[in-house]
């Protein structure tokens, strides 16, 4: 039994390396875009954890059966287990924070480029978060209150904007439709085009 365990471990280098790679990947990306969800990496770390755990189970049982000298090995493996767990949780948590920040800074719709970086569960989380936020915002005032708007105090009711891409038709609250073609300029109510500016569709000129 010892031999098979040893053979397996030679291949495994130092514990926690893969988990750390995940953390490093996120740290590197802090000033850039969110990297795609590292499914493979996570799976490898969970595998390592499973093996460590099973080995520890065996040795704990052996110790209760009377074998001596195994405690330090058990402690070491346990430390590695916890380290892996911490790295994985931090990975998931950090991504969750960034996805949540996306909702507040940009909007409730995930553009395909951002969506690609998210795993299925993260997309589901975003949808549920959106829903919770919308429910809450509807409940705090008779007509609802968009908390994600006016992140800076507004200076005017209307703003002059330039369209940066071909967005198409945009329906205003009063029913009028504006055609947002690239390079056209418009004079629109601030509250209604703020989300489009934040998403990069429009540019605030004045």
């Amino acid at each position: 039994m010892t031999r098979t365990v040893k053979t397996f471990w030679i291949w495994c280098a130092m514990f926690g390396e893969k988990a750390l790679e995940l953390v490093r990947e996120l740290k590197r990306s802090q000033d850039g875009n969110l990297p795609p969800y590292n499914d493979d990496g996570i799976r490898q770390v969970v595998e390592e954890m499973r093996t460590l755990f099973e080995q520890n189970q065996l040795e704990v049982r052996a110790t209760t059966d009377g074998e001596r000298g195994l405690l330090s090995g058990i402690q070491l493996r346990h430390a590695c287990l916890e380290r892996n767990q911490r790295c994985l949780l931090a990975y998931v948590h950090h991504r969750m924070t960034r996805i949540r920040d996306y909702r507040w800074q940009t909007g409730s719709v995930l553009p395909p480029s951002f969506r690609l970086s998210l795993c299925e569960q993260e997309i589901q989380w975003f949808t549920r978060y959106n829903r919770s936020l919308a429910t809450y915002m509807r409940s705090i005032a008779p007509t609802g209150l968009d908390l994600t708007q006016h992140l800076q105090p507004p200076k005017s009711l209307l703003v002059e904007v330039r369209c940066l891409e071909d967005y198409g038709e945009f329906e205003m609250e009063d029913g009028t439709v504006v055609l947002l073609h690239k390079n056209t300029q418009h004079y629109l109510p601030r509250s209604q085009c703020e989300p489009l500016i934040r998403q990069g569709v429009l540019e605030h000129i004045h």
Partner: protein, 227 residues
């Protein structure tokens, strides 16, 4: 993802990523931007840095960790460089599987250099998490512990003024050279200062009222331009 919720037979405490019996030592939260030390990426990376350690007991069946020996077990007396998180799990209070030594950059000689003039030292090279790691080293009951603690504090106090002053200066090559010698904590501090100044200048020029695309969008645009 559901496999993560499988609980192990012993439920470890999560308060500081350290096995539960050592949780009585409460690590203060990572400062200057750390959002609580458990989830903080910087704190995880800081605790990854290696520290010289000597095994005081034989550890069975994990001999493969010792690159210098080919034995099945780690012999008592074996010396290895271990990541701080592992050294902490195996050494320190109530655990004496390993005994640690201070890494070079925290020893007397380096502390003397810092005392002479803390401002000339490249703390990023010594780190990059010089303060965070230094604080973590204080966990171990080491002869030079109180000296090290004082040294960390004094180093920060001596470097602080220059960090504050430079963060208020406009972006320039001198400034970049300055920041390359700051450790991660100092860098965060520096950027906080810079951001306040930039926000103030933007307001003075009357550009604060302009709504801007969100950070995510701006980063994506920047990346597209660079491609």
């Amino acid at each position: 993802m559901s496999s993560l919720t499988q609980s192990s037979s012993s439920t470890p405490s999560y308060s500081s990523g350290v096995p539960s019996s050592a949780a009585h030592y409460r690590q203060p939260p990572a400062a200057a931007g750390g959002a609580g030390d458990f989830f903080d990426l910087g704190d995880i990376l800081a605790s990854q840095q290696r520290v010289p350690a000597q095994f005081e007991q034989t550890v069975y069946r994990l001999g493969f960790l010792d690159a210098q020996s080919s034995g099945e077990h780690i012999q008592s007396g074996a010396k290895m460089e271990l990541p701080l998180w592992l050294a902490r799990a195996l050494g320190g209070r109530r655990r004496n599987i390993v005994r640690i030594d201070l890494p070079k950059q925290y020893r007397q000689q380096q502390r003397d250099i810092l005392r002479a003039d803390a401002n000339v030292v490249d703390l990023f090279k010594q780190g990059p998490y010089f303060y965070l790691m230094g604080v973590k080293l204080l966990f171990f009951d080491h002869m030079e512990r109180s000296d090290l603690a004082k040294s960390l504090l004094e180093t920060f106090l001596n470097r602080f003024r220059r960090i504050m002053d430079t963060s208020h200066h406009a972006f320039s090559s001198d400034v970049t050279m300055f920041t390359t010698r700051l450790d991660e904590t100092e860098r965060v501090l520096f950027h906080i200062g810079q951001r306040s100044v930039a926000a103030m200048e933007k307001w003075e020029r009357g550009r604060s009222h302009r709504i801007e695309a969100s950070d995510v969008v701006q980063k994506r645009r920047k990346r597209k331009r660079e491609d």
